[in-house]
Structures are given as structure tokens and as C-alpha cells.
């Protein structure tokens, strides 16, 4: 979850509740105009807070990866639609077409930053099951592409990832090229970043929720 949103939602919620309590228990002079204005602002604030809270309840978080089952589903109720619009603010695909995960923390909850090196290791046979394609894309703290000498902005089933001798696939996520070659390097910025994992036409293991995305593991010390 984006922490700033969490703090902001908590702040708005606290202010709204404090206002309501003050109104109930403090002898304030009131006018109809202030009633309507405050009712509007607090109602709007609470709508934001409830949608954020509902999104946090409904989102699935495993190994630092966050996804939302049922995005864009026409059967979603009012609250679910508002929550989806807040957690994935855009007209994204329904799960049968594509499933999205994003992460801004490693498996232990520490923020992802280019000051560290990370390895995402898909075990043998553990690449995301799909009938179309998958990709892992890098975004900086503001979710923009990251300049790099290879002009590589993502790794995917098409990017020439080289499996290890045991069939596992390791993606090296770091700001500087790995020593052993750049085939499996996903260039990171020097600061914070976000990772996006997309799987189009996901397999049944993903749609049923049984597929677990491996953790983004911190490797070694900080980049010299």
C-alpha cells in the first residue's frame, strides 16, 4: 500500500470524527450554512476514507506484492467499484484478461530503493502461468520510466531472460549492472521505485489465487 495514502486517509478520518464529536458534545453556535458546508466536506472525506479502508481489506498482499481480485468486474457493488478506482486508478483489465500486481516494498516490508540490490527468483517452473505474456516493469517513485544505458524498462517472457542451471529464473533489480552479465538485469533508479508484474490471459492457478509471486529479496549490502 502506498503509505502516504494511508497516512492521508488516517488524517482525514481523524479530522472528520473529531468534527462530528465536537458537534455532538461541544456547545457550538451553528447556522444552516455551516451545517451544509461541513456535512458536505465531512461526507466527502469519509467517502474517501471508507473506500481506502475497503480497498485495504479487499486487496491481497503476499510477499510484498499487492493485487485486487475482481478489478473491472461488472458485478462489483458500489463500494467495491469505489475501492478499485482508488487502488488502481484507471480503466484496467478484468482478471480473466490480465492480472496486475505491484510492489513498493520487499518481502519484509522495507521500501524498495535503488540504494539496495534485489533479486526476484522464480523457482523452476514458477514463472507466472499464462496464455499470452507476462512482464515485470520498473517505475520510479512517481511511476515513470527509469532512464538507463540499455534502454530497458521491463523484463518479460520476450526479453531474453536466461534461466539458471536448475531452471530457475533470477531477475537482478538494482541500479548498477550485475557482474555476471546484463541479460537478467532490470535497471532501477537510484531512489525509491515501484515494480509492476502483469500477467495477460492468466492461467487458472492465478485466477484461483493459488499462484504466489516470489518475494523481491534484498541481496548483499548497499551498492558501493
Amino acid at each position: 500500500m502506498r503509505r502516504t495514502y494511508g497516512y492521508f486517509a488516517a488524517l482525514v478520518g481523524t479530522v472528520c470524527v473529531a468534527f462530528i464529536l465536537a458537534m455532538l458534545f461541544l456547545p457550538l453556535t451553528r447556522t444552516v450554512r455551516s451545517d451544509v458546508l461541513q456535512g458536505f466536506l465531512i461526507g466527502f472525506g469519509l467517502a474517501f476514507v471508507t473506500a481506502q479502508a475497503y480497498a485495504r481489506i479487499k486487496a491481497v498482499r503476499v510477499n510484498g506484492w499487492i493485487t485486487m481480485p475482481g478489478l473491472g468486474d461488472p458485478g462489483n457493488g458500489v463500494l467495491m467499484r469505489a475501492a478499485c478506482a482508488q487502488l488502481f486508478p484507471g480503466p484496467v483489465n478484468t482478471p480473466e484478461e490480465a492480472v496486475y500486481w505491484w510492489a513498493n516494498t520487499d518481502a519484509t516490508g522495507r521500501e524498495l530503493t535503488g540504494r539496495n540490490r534485489y533479486v526476484l527468483r522464480f523457482p523452476p517452473g514458477g514463472l507466472p502461468p499464462n496464455n499470452a505474456f507476462w512482464s515485470l516493469t520498473m517505475g520510479d517513485a512517481r511511476n515513470r520510466f527509469v532512464p538507463n544505458p540499455l534502454r530497458r524498462y521491463s523484463v518479460s517472457d520476450r526479453s531474453g531472460l536466461v534461466p539458471g542451471p536448475d531452471g530457475s529464473v533470477e531477475v537482478f533489480i538494482r541500479a548498477t549492472p550485475p557482474e555476471g552479465g546484463t541479460s537478467n538485469w532490470l535497471p532501477a533508479p537510484s531512489g525509491k521505485f515501484i515494480l509492476w508484474l502483469r500477467v495477460y490471459e492468466p492461467g487458472p492457478e492465478i485466477l484461483s489465487g493459488h499462484y504466489v509471486v516470489p518475494p523481491v529479496a534484498r541481496a548483499g549490502g548497499p551498492t558501493p
Binding site: 461526507g43 462489483n76 478506482a85 480503466p91 499470452a132 521491463s154
Partner: protein, 190 residues
């Protein structure tokens, strides 16, 4: 006296809460509508009922957005598919979407109801196959016959957000993918 004020406040608050929750997806999608029909993506606004395909140059070099490009539609980092966008208004009659032969390539065309931000239909490799085809898109209350050999997509609303995605295998494939993307075409029903 105090009770009246509390009642007014409470009613306004609950009504605003309901309205804001209900209209949140619509407010979000209105941003996309503005990006498409008012601002555009570097080549001026995209008129209603026409499709615009993201330029191959922007896909190849996503770090340098051309001046006047709306950042909204290219929101998020996507290096997999070329986007084709269009805002449809079915109040003046149905439209026909033509899809070229994608020769097995992954593509999808998503039909989003902008009042709920949910997807009510798909055309694409998963749902209708990668071959060529035509699809009639009709608004609510439309009566008529769907021509032979044409698929039918019934929209619950007059407004529709259409998003096409065509897979790009690699840099060398970009031109071919872009050519196919631009062959996604909309025309009124004759």
C-alpha cells in the same frame, strides 16, 4: 434547535457520502474522457467515435513525451502493448469496430462503462480469436438486426471507453504491431 442543526448536518453528510462513493469511478473516468477528447496525445484532441493509436515513436522512446501529450492516458509504465483509445457516443446510432487479422498475435479491445469503470465486453484473442472480424456496438434501447457475420456488443450506456491493446514482441516488431493497431477501425453502421 441544536437537534435541527445536527439533523441537517447528518443528512447532508450521509447524502454526500453516498454520492461521492457512487460517483467516484465516474469522476475518475471523466479525467480520461478529458484526456482523450480535449487534450489528446500530441496530435491534438481525439474526436468522439474515432480511435487513436499511441505513436510508435513514443513507445520506442517513452522518456520523452512530445509536447501537448496528456500524461493521463500513458499513466503507468507499460512496455508490452501499444494502446489504442477512443471515447464512443452511441446516441447517434451504432458503430462497427473492424479488427484486422492479427495472425495469432495477442490483442484485446476492452469496452468500459465509464459510469462504473467496469468492463462489460471484450473483443480479442482470448474472447473472439486473433482472426479478422467486425463487431456491431449498440447503445441501450437499440432495435434492429445485426448483419450476418458480424459480432454484437450491447453497451449498457451511450458512452463507452474503448481501449485496444496490441502486443509488441520486441523493438524490431514495433512497426508491425503499430500497423496492426492502426487497422483497428470504427465506422458508423451503414
Amino acid at each position: 434547535m441544536r437537534l435541527e442543526h445536527l439533523l441537517i448536518f447528518g443528512l447532508v453528510m450521509v447524502a454526500t457520502w453516498c454520492a461521492a462513493t457512487y460517483f467516484w469511478p465516474r469522476m475518475l473516468l471523466s479525467v480520461f474522457k478529458r484526456a482523450i477528447v480535449v487534450k489528446g496525445f500530441g496530435d491534438g484532441p481525439v474526436p468522439v467515435n474515432t480511435l487513436y493509436t499511441q505513436s510508435a515513436a513514443l513507445f520506442a522512446d517513452p522518456l520523452n513525451l512530445p509536447a501537448g501529450t496528456s500524461k493521463v492516458a500513458s499513466a503507468g509504465v507499460n512496455r508490452d502493448t501499444l494502446l489504442t483509445l477512443g471515447w464512443l457516443d452511441l446516441s447517434k446510432g451504432p458503430l462497427v469496430l473492424h479488427v484486422p487479422d492479427m495472425a495469432g498475435r495477442y490483442y484485446s479491445v476492452q469496452f468500459t462503462n465509464p459510469s462504473t469503470n467496469t468492463n462489460f465486453a471484450y473483443v480479442g484473442k482470448r474472447t473472439t480469436g486473433a482472426g479478422p472480424g467486425d463487431f456491431l456496438i449498440t447503445g441501450p434501447g437499440w432495435t434492429g438486426d445485426v448483419p450476418d457475420g458480424v459480432g454484437h456488443i450491447a453497451s449498457p450506456r451511450r458512452s463507452v471507453l474503448l481501449i485496444g491493446r496490441v502486443l509488441v514482441y520486441d523493438d524490431a516488431d514495433l512497426a508491425a504491431a503499430h500497423r496492426l493497431s492502426t487497422q483497428l477501425r470504427l465506422a458508423p453502421l451503414r
